[in-house]
Symmetry: C2
Subunit: 219 residues, 2 copies
């Protein structure tokens, strides 16, 4: 079984993986808050354990086994986040750090019973889908708010930045999960967006819009 640290590497490699582009050493180093040399060392070890495919100077990608391990950690992380918000009254911007710790608890029975206790939730407090026992996502087709054009409407179903500052900012603007909105105008020069939310007009930057995930509605 992978160590605590190995699990963190796998999770980060998973999140950095696009469709068949290899993940670079430096990218991992930045996310792990460590040095490239340390990453190289770890990649060799993970390759040894057949959790990643690794070719020197070419970056890595996960093997089947590595991906399964990563998804398992993500499952645990997201279930614990639901627990913290639903049962312990944490706010959506308070859960990340604690879930980072809880995700490493090793007990299959625990996580299956937690899942049942929570009523088999499909998404976490940020709208991210929770994989089932077999690692399958019931994935809703997300688009970002920047992909909506003038006059289109949708519902906020996720966010792609989990930092406390970002989430607190959204909350202040009432841009929380489930919120319906309409794009009034997208500014050409900077991509910022004017929205109609709760019958009020608000204005957000492109940077913010990029991290808000939408399910389009066709009214």
């Amino acid at each position: 079984m992978p160590s605590f640290t190995e699990e963190n590497y796998l999770k980060i490699i998973y999140h950095l993986s696009g469709q068949d582009t290899a993940v670079q050493t430096n990218a991992i180093a930045e996310k792990m808050q460590t040095r490239a040399a340390s990453v190289t060392d770890m990649l060799k070890k993970l390759a040894e354990k057949e959790l990643v495919h690794y070719v020197r100077y070419q970056g890595v990608h996960l093997t089947q086994k590595g991906r399964a391990a990563a998804i398992d950690i993500i499952r645990k992380h997201r279930l614990w986040e639901v627990f913290l918000v639903e049962k312990l009254q944490f706010k959506w911007d308070e859960v990340h750090e604690v879930a980072e710790e809880l995700e490493h608890i090793r007990s299959t029975r625990l996580i299956e019973r937690l899942d049942a206790f929570l009523g088999f939730p499909k998404v976490d407090p940020h709208g991210d889908p929770i994989p089932d026992q077999h690692g399958r996502f019931s994935s809703l087709p997300f688009i970002t708010l920047t992909q909506l054009t003038n006059g289109e409407t949708g519902t906020i179903t996720g966010v792609s930045d989990h930092s406390s500052v970002f989430l607190k900012y959204l909350e202040k603007l009432q841009l929380t999960l489930g919120q319906a909105l309409k794009v009034i105008d997208v500014m050409d020069f900077d991509g910022s967006v004017e929205l109609l939310v709760c019958e009020q007009s608000i204005h957000i930057s492109k940077e913010v819009a990029k991290h808000i995930l939408i399910t389009k509605s066709y009214v």
Copy 2:
């Protein structure tokens, strides 16, 4: 803040501490499943951090600071055990290992909210008292079943062995928390005990009786 391993040492030293007798290196080694040499190394480090008083060849005992840290871990361990039994339908013999992991999660907010969520329980599923935020126990005066004499009655309010085998055995005999019982006879030659439980007579060894904690009733 102490490391994961340091926390385990503190907890074990706490459990091995009697009234002002120093705890021996070998005793710690046995509980930690490690070698005496490793324990010596760790004791030096804990002494450095002022978590224990340590004199070479004389054993250790906890400082105020060390005791507070140990009690904090015990509090977390026991609260998680209550959670596992009350909310996730674990049995009392299944919780120990998982709680050993959960007790190391570092979040004051988490543990205070968990406490509230559970309704501020006073004892864990084995009857052990749960210290409050300030490390205070609401300690009931326990005696062991071996201290009851012929004809005396009492209620099971705790156990001092948390192993799965022991707990499963008790369960089979219906010797669970809250169970009322009466001592019919204590055998002189081996200290084994004949009990009246649920209107049935059962016989248990001294070894077993020693680990059953009783609150005496005066009927």
